[in-house]
Amino acid sequence: MTPPAPQARERARGQQPTDDGASPGRSLREEMDITKETLERRKAWLEFTQGDVERLAQVDTLVSRHADELVEQLYAHINAADGSRDGDAAPTHTKGLLEEYFLGLTKGAYDVEFVEERLRLVGGLRQRFGPDPSWYLGTYNLYLRAVGERIRAAGDELDDPRAVFESVRKVTFLDLGFAFDAYMIERERTIWRQEEELRKLSTPVLQLQDELLLLPIVGFVDTARAQQLTEQLLYAIRERRARVVVIDVTGVGAVDSRVANHIVQTVEAARLMGAAAIVTGLSAEVAQTLVRLGVDLSAVRTVGDLQGGIEEAERLLHADGPSPSLPDGRG
């Protein structure tokens, strides 16, 4: 469906799912905060200079000379080390990965795009060989030995073989640094995903009394989790016929305006189902800050501590006066 030229095109993004699904290298890079500045800092720590870049170009010439031989060496090492498999089902693909990764180390411009590419390749390797990095380190070690041999064998061809090997060592540390971060982040993501599944199974809404529910929120709250909690609260209101709910955020580390807006939405949704909500665990200072940040707390009853909030809830439930769910908040 391509529109004719004069029409305006407007793109609006609503909420984003937490896993963006954009190019894996890029989102990892953003998560690891790899910018031009942080990359330069890492290089400075390793004393990685333009001289090293030039020497690595020389190494690249050496390595490319007998590239196939080197790849076969690496491949043989992996096959020997991995006793569990019957045999590699896709040797060409595996060798291709190894060539791209290890031979690519000396072909880079060592800028941010290079890092992205390395992260992408590490992802490919991880997919192929699994989440345990020890095979990776073993193969890297072999690569260094093989390159060292070729540098020694090159003899007079190089001005300063020791300095050349130094450069290889530096770029190795640079590369390993990124790979380690990537492995750690992937592990964290797996753990997070497992915790997510656990969270979905548990029911966080507690019944304190007839018609009174408590929803304690603990830990980090992102959009997905906030929506989940809201859903669970609303279903509980219907099932237990609650007229008052207490939402306790004492255990939420940082209540920022995003979290606060989720809470406001939850309170409004509860109201639509005839239940009044009291939010506890927001200190007066935090509440004031949120209001200053533009969060509209006018329709939200807040009480500093949980105990006080429960007492207020009981008062609302048993009062003879105006009903808790009247929209103007009387009572």
């Binding site: 469906m1 407007e10 859903e231």
Partner: protein, 133 residues
Amino acid sequence: MDTSEPLAVASDTDVVTARQRARDLARVLGFSTTDQTTIATAASEIARNIVTYAGHGQLWVRALDEGGRQGLVVVARDEGPGIPDVERALADGYSTSGSLGVGLSGSKRLMDDLDIESGAGAGTTVTMRKWLR
């Protein structure tokens, strides 16, 4: 269910059909009941916009499969008067005054993304997507 054929939208009965079709596909694709309602609400909104502002138009509801992610897309198209200032229409606030912006900005909040192609006198195409979590 053949979701490749568009639904003709010209009356409020068609609006009901549109949201039922959106809900049904959402259910089949595995969206939660909450998301089914969200999707149906957004579909209802843009279908109704067709009737209100253009008199008649078409609506598609299709499954999506992109880069490993699954989801649903709703496309509403009409040859009506169009929206001269799309940005302003989307920026409209939380009012129930019945203006076009309410439905569009609200639908944008309900779905994961919303695209509008329109211009004065040039018809309107609204595309909105929601992804399975």
